[in-house]
């Protein structure tokens, strides 16, 4: 197929937008940005990165938006600012890809639990609502991804006290084999090109398939293949972590 043969460097750059690293970056969230950037560049795609702090406007013309984790107070502030800024909802309306982890995932929903557990309105970009659970889910998580997405098993680390319920407008990203996830046996959620997960921090590092799904969505077509050996280390790490997690079934 000739599409994959295109010289990608003549394309307009892929625009990655990291939302509010000053508020929503506590667990190595930069990793997701670096993984997407690397996997795009290795395929010859030019990349532009914008890090947007909470005192800046969110651009509406990005291709992939990233949101990380955060403590309770920054989560509330980030939500308030994103709602009043309006850039992110507009970008999503225009078809941008949005990938959010942990606190960022909760922000996308209709509501989430604030610092004292009280329900607060989210951005409503994903049909989910979250609240505070009884205890913190901390540890390795393993989950089978919705077969419709064609992504291998998820492996990651979770550290949250959130419980998330999915409405009819969102599908679970995965089914939990080990760990907590949404709290009901499912993990994460997606709808259209908006995808959220409780795998925190650098979730894409051990899940290159998920990174490629986001790139595919952004590109609107199949990705060119990676150079050989480009993901040897990532796959070794992935295998090591998969083997380290006992699955209780």
């Amino acid at each position: 197929m000739s599409d994959g043969e295109h010289n990608m460097s003549s394309w307009r750059p892929l625009r990655l937008v990291w939302i509010y690293p000053d508020l929503l970056s506590t667990y190595g969230d930069r990793g997701n940005l670096l993984v997407l950037e690397r996997r795009a560049r290795l395929r010859g795609m030019p990349v532009e990165v914008a890090q947007v702090n909470s005192d800046q406007r969110v651009p509406v013309d990005g291709d992939i938006y990233l949101m990380g984790g955060g403590e309770d107070l920054p989560q509330v502030l980030a939500t308030r600012r994103l709602a009043s800024d309006g850039g992110l909802p507009e970008a999503v309306r225009r078809g941008a890809v949005l990938f959010a982890v942990c606190a960022g995932y909760q922000i996308l929903g209709r509501e989430f639990g604030g610092a004292e557990g009280q329900p607060l309105p989210g951005l409503g970009l994903l049909d989910i609502s979250s609240s505070r659970g009884e205890r913190r889910g901390v540890g390795e998580i393993l989950a089978d991804v919705d077969p419709a997405l064609g992504v291998p098993q998820l492996t990651g680390f979770e550290n949250h006290q959130g419980v998330t319920h999915l409405g009819p407008g969102a599908r679970p990203l995965a089914r939990v084999l080990a760990g907590v996830g949404n709290g009901n046996g499912t993990e994460g959620a997606y709808a259209g090109r908006v995808l959220g997960t409780y795998l925190h921090g650098p979730a894409l590092v051990r899940n290159p398939g998920l990174a490629d799904l986001l790139l595919t969505w952004a590109l609107g077509q199949q990705l060119p293949t990676l150079p050989s050996n480009a993901e040897e280390l990532a796959l070794r790490l992935r295998d090591e972590r998969l083997a380290a997690v006992p699955v209780s079934q």
Binding site: L34, E71, L77, P202, V205, L233, R236, L237
Partner: protein
């Protein structure tokens, strides 16, 4: 001078018994080769007398030292500086920094009128209550082992509450760290120190109101609520300390790096509170060459190895600054056992690009996590299985080693418990 003390009250009989039994257990533990015994001794003592720490602290002048990074080294430096008073000092020199460790340090030195105690960040409220410290040192606060630690803003809030309830305590705090400043500002009296802040990823926002902070050099202020960096009494400036009278003098420490210079300036502010002048304090502090194995130089099969310990992104950033420059090879080692935190995500918060072009070796139980991280920063490296493997691959007269907690301990065990 407030260094002459009334005679310390005698311990009640149950506390004396608890101290004796705890001390015996510690000795057995040491002889059995299970560390220095400070934790087990303290645990047994506290089981026999739950108020043992308060009883042991009563009548002493206590300094508590806390923060995410630099606790152990600063505790060591303060002990050195206060030795200029000529008084005996109790200290938990091996870094056992929870209630049992503090208890054990005091019970091993029952007649020391001074105590310098490294304290885990989470235990500060309880330890303030138990020891009624004369001075509390707040070094810095940043992300660390978040699979179990409290979130740092919550931690700062608890410090505030504890300090508001302890008006007699003087706080010595780093004014360049906005979160530390916010916590310290709840105290009755504070000596502010410009100790610098290398790691800023946890202080872009005002801890008081959440607005984005305006930062200009070391200065910071919040345009929203008016929270700002307070005027400082002591300043670290290019390896020199500027004292309250505005005089500069070189630190000339044996310990390397900006972080230790920062710890030293904080130490001078503590020394001042005990009537020890900067020159006398520095004279003692310069004799500190290694701290519980950190910065130790060891010979191994013809290679001189220096060991650096750092446990979190802020610590790694400082440690990478300290390293002898290229072409000396660097061994980075990471574990993720419980004391390290089970989560390796923090590796992605460190910028490794400065290692490009120098020989880098990667070890530890979680070396694949680090390998993928370095690959993303275009840093070339070799994977190694052990410190000896690293020495073989490095083939260099020198090797710099940076490891997190249990990886450091494993290497130290192989190299002998050199101090």
């Amino acid at each position: 001078m407030d260094t002459s003390l009334p005679a310390r009250p005698r311990l009640p009989i149950r506390a004396r018994f608890a101290t004796t039994v705890g001390g015996a257990a510690a000795t057995v533990s040491r002889l059995a080769g299970k560390g220095d015994g400070s934790v087990i001794g303290g645990i047994i003592g506290l089981r026999l007398e739950p108020d043992l720490l308060s009883l042991l602290a009563a009548g002493r002048q206590v300094v508590l030292v806390t923060g995410t990074n630099g606790k152990t080294t600063t505790t060591r430096l303060i002990s050195a500086a206060l030795s200029a008073t000529g008084q005996k000092i109790a200290s938990n020199v091996y870094g056992a920094n929870m209630e049992a460790g503090l208890t054990s340090a005091l019970s091993r030195n029952p007649d020391a009128p001074l105590a310098v105690l490294e304290t885990d960040e989470k235990y500060i409220p309880a330890m303030i209550k138990a020891t009624q410290p004369k001075v509390l040192v707040l070094l810095n606060l940043s992300r660390d082992q978040m699979d179990r630690a409290a979130e740092i803003w919550m931690l700062a809030r608890r410090w505030r509450e504890a300090l508001a309830a302890s008006p007699g305590t003087l706080v010595v705090a780093n004014a360049d760290d906005p979160l530390v400043t916010w916590a310290a500002s709840a105290a009755g009296s504070v000596t502010w120190v410009a100790a610098g802040q290398r790691w800023r990823e946890d202080s872009w926002c005002c801890p008081n109101c959440g607005s984005h902070l305006v930062r200009d050099g070391d200065d910071w202020d919040c345009r929203e609520c008016g929270n700002r960096r307070p005027p400082v009494r002591w300043t670290l400036s290019d390896g020199q300390v500027i004292d309250p009278a505005g005089r500069a003098q070189p630190l000339d420490l044996a310990l390397p790096g900006r972080a230790n210079a920062s710890n030293a300036v904080v130490t001078l502010a503590v020394a001042e509170a005990f009537g020890v002048d900067a020159s006398s304090a520095l004279g003692q502090m310069r004799g500190v060459t290694s701290v519980a194995g950190r910065y130790t130089q060891v010979q191994r099969r013809g290679t001189e190895i220096r060991l650096l310990l750092a446990k979190n992104p802020a610590g790694w950033l400082e440690a990478l600054d300290v390293m002898v420059p290229a072409p000396v090879p660097v061994l980075l080692a990471v574990n993720a056992q419980t004391p390290d935190g089970r989560d390796t995500s923090w590796l992605w918060d460190v910028d490794y690009r400065r290692l490009r072009g120098r020989p880098v070796l990667v070890g530890g139980e979680r070396r694949m996590d680090l390998a993928v991280r370095l690959e993303a920063d275009d840093v070339e490296f070799h994977l190694v299985d052990s410190i000896d493997h690293a020495v073989d691959v490095a083939r260099s007269p020198r090797l710099e080693v940076l490891a997190n907690y249990t990886a450091f301990q494993q290497y130290r065990a192989v190299l002998g418990r050199a101090e």
